[in-house]
């Protein structure tokens, strides 16, 4: 337990009669990719929101690097080292790609943004932003308006902004969605290298990517984690096959 960088302890969340999170516990250790899979509506994004602090759990705790951050909001958690990407791209659409990345670099400074110096002329912010953009392959699009990017490119920009934060933990909600085969393959490669910088809690529907990348997998069904284990263990788990993977085999 001591090497868990992120530790989720017994989180429950209900929306009326719907249990979106039902006593969920999982942890994320240094250097690993922990994939969270489950059918649509299983409560994956709801869980990510509770870890990121934008949604308060009804019960349960979130620990980050040995600190209980359950009562902290998303701003404090971002500053404490959580870098997230949103399932539905959440960017400043009127701004350029570079401006979105610079915003991340600005936040990573952990102090109130300056009122006077032109932000786009600050070399340190620009460098951090451009470095992150080239890591995800968006450097050529730096001066595009974000609204003019393709769906997949916006997903890449989400990842780039998270990179600028230099987080201690990555929370990624379906970063591959809409990327296409080539884009997915590139991102799989990239994430594989990224996990040594900071562990990744990865929500993903692309099973090939998941089984290629994940060190551990947790399966969420109706808000409950029905299994956690290595890819081989998950593949062999009859309960999982029944509830989730089996459906895919039939299809």
């Amino acid at each position: 337990m001591t090497d868990a960088i992120l530790d989720i302890r017994g989180i429950s969340k209900s929306f009326g009669a719907l249990k979106a999170s039902d006593d969920v516990s999982l942890d994320l250790r240094a250097g690993e990719i922990h994939a969270l899979i489950g059918p649509n509506g299983a409560g994956k994004s709801t869980l990510i929101a509770q870890i990121a602090g934008s949604l308060k759990p009804d019960t349960g705790e979130v620990w980050l690097e040995g600190r209980n951050v359950t009562l902290d909001g998303p701003v404090a958690r971002a500053q404490a080292g959580l870098g997230r990407t949103f399932q539905i791209s959440s960017l400043a659409m009127e701004d350029t790609v570079l401006q979105n990345a610079v915003l991340g670099a600005l936040g990573a400074r952990h102090r109130a943004p300056g009122l006077w110096r032109p932000v786009m002329k600050q070399a340190d912010l620009r460098d951090t932003a451009m470095a992150a953009l080239s890591e995800v392959g968006l450097d050529e699009f730096a001066h595009f308006r974000t609204a003019d990017l393709s769906h997949g490119q916006r997903r890449q920009l989400e990842v780039a902004v998270a990179l600028t934060l230099k987080p201690h933990v990555f929370l990624m909600d379906e970063p591959m969605a809409g990327l296409g085969a080539d884009g997915s393959a590139l991102l799989v490669n990239f994430l594989h290298g990224l996990k040594s910088r900071a562990p990744i809690l990865l929500v993903e529907h692309d099973m090939d990517a998941v089984f290629q990348l994940a060190d551990r997998i947790s399966v969420l069904v109706y808000g409950r984690i029905i299994a956690t284990g290595t890819p081989d263990e998950i593949r062999a788990n009859s309960q999982v096959r029944e509830a989730y993977l089996g459906e895919e085999d039939d299809a």
Partner: protein
């Protein structure tokens, strides 16, 4: 994309040329009218920071305009009557010195913006509009029922306040003063917009969750924007008091808030010179249409509707095309 700076420059040239011509042609009324444009534009520049960059639809900016106006009116009225504002615990006398009046207008507006903003910014959307409106109305009814400073009748400033080295009674000199202040305010707002604060504030308008996710709290950005915005509009109020040499509770009315917003929308929300173009167009329409018909506001309404429906960038947007999305600034 690069047309906007040119248009802005043309507006500045126009604001220099018109009063200069009026001065030569001995048309003091035109100078006064241009002064009014410049002062109302300043009020709009203040609002535009909150509205355009921050997306804060404040229907309470008359509050700051009125505070600035009453700062001038109250200080001047005490100076005129040689009656100190207070004698205990220390003596504070009235003054007719513009720099002192402006300072007071700015400081009080900023403090009121801090207090009202801290409360209203906890809400958003329609609630924010209603709360700012309510704060403005509170000031309006308060001044109406405050007999010490004229109540409903307002306050007169018999002799225009002074500025060191200038004869402010000379219309062209007073105009020059207001013009320089407008340019300074535009400079400040342009810097703010290009700063890290401006980037984050503008991003928070577009996507609040994004800004939080990078560890920046939108509430603080908005409060800061609201304070600076209120201070600028407050300064405009002080100048407006001196232009008319008169202040009245009307300065606090929600119609005033609405008019300031109309300048911004007509000229172009979030465009640096939008409020300037908007105030100029508004005064021009008031003069031309107002001369033709008492009901000129109907035409103004129709124009506003057209702008909101078909020309979101307002006058500046129409002339300069889609700007923005420029990251070399």
């Amino acid at each position: 994309m690069r047309r906007e700076p040119l248009i802005n420059a043309l507006i500045v040239v126009g604001l220099l040329a018109v009063p200069l011509w009026a001065y030569m042609a001995d048309e003091p009324y035109v100078i006064t009218l241009t002064t009014k444009v410049v002062i109302l534009a300043l009020a709009g520049v203040g609002l535009n920071l909150a509205l355009g960059l921050g997306g804060l639809v404040s229907l309470g900016h008359a509050m700051f305009f009125g505070i600035g106006g009453y700062a001038a009116g109250i200080l001047a009225s005490h100076a005129q009557s040689y009656d100190p504002i207070m004698e205990w615990p220390f003596l504070i006398e009235g003054t007719q010195s513009m720099p002192v009046i402006w300072l007071l207008a700015i400081v009080v507006s900023a403090l009121v913006a801090l207090a009202t903003g801290a409360l209203s910014l906890r809400t958003s959307g329609v609630y924010f509009i209603m709360i700012t409106l309510a704060f403005g109305q509170m000031f309006y009814y308060f001044t109406i029922s405050w007999p010490a400073y004229g109540g409903e009748d307002g306050l007169s400033i018999y002799v225009r306040d002074h500025f060191p080295g200038l004869n402010t009674l000379d219309p062209i000199q007073f105009y020059g003063l207001c013009f320089v202040i407008l340019l300074l305010a535009l400079f400040v707002v342009a810097r703010l917009a290009r700063s890290g604060f401006g980037l984050a504030l503008n991003a928070a308008r577009q996507n609040e969750a994004r800004v939080r996710a990078v560890g920046i709290e939108p509430y603080r950005l908005r409060l800061m924007a609201f304070i600076i915005s209120g201070a600028i509009t407050g300064l405009a109020g002080a100048l407006y008091a001196d232009l008319n040499r008169f202040v009245s509770p009307t300065m606090f009315s929600w119609q005033t808030s609405g008019e300031i917003m109309v300048f911004v929308i007509l000229g172009g929300v979030a465009r640096l010179f939008g409020p300037v173009a908007g105030a100029a167009l508004f005064i021009l329409l008031e003069e031309v249409l107002g001369g033709l018909s008492e009901y000129w506001h109907i035409y103004l309404g129709a124009l506003l509707l057209i702008v909101v429906l078909f020309a979101r960038g307002g006058l500046i947007g129409l002339l300069a095309g889609q700007g923005k999305g420029d990251d070399d600034d």
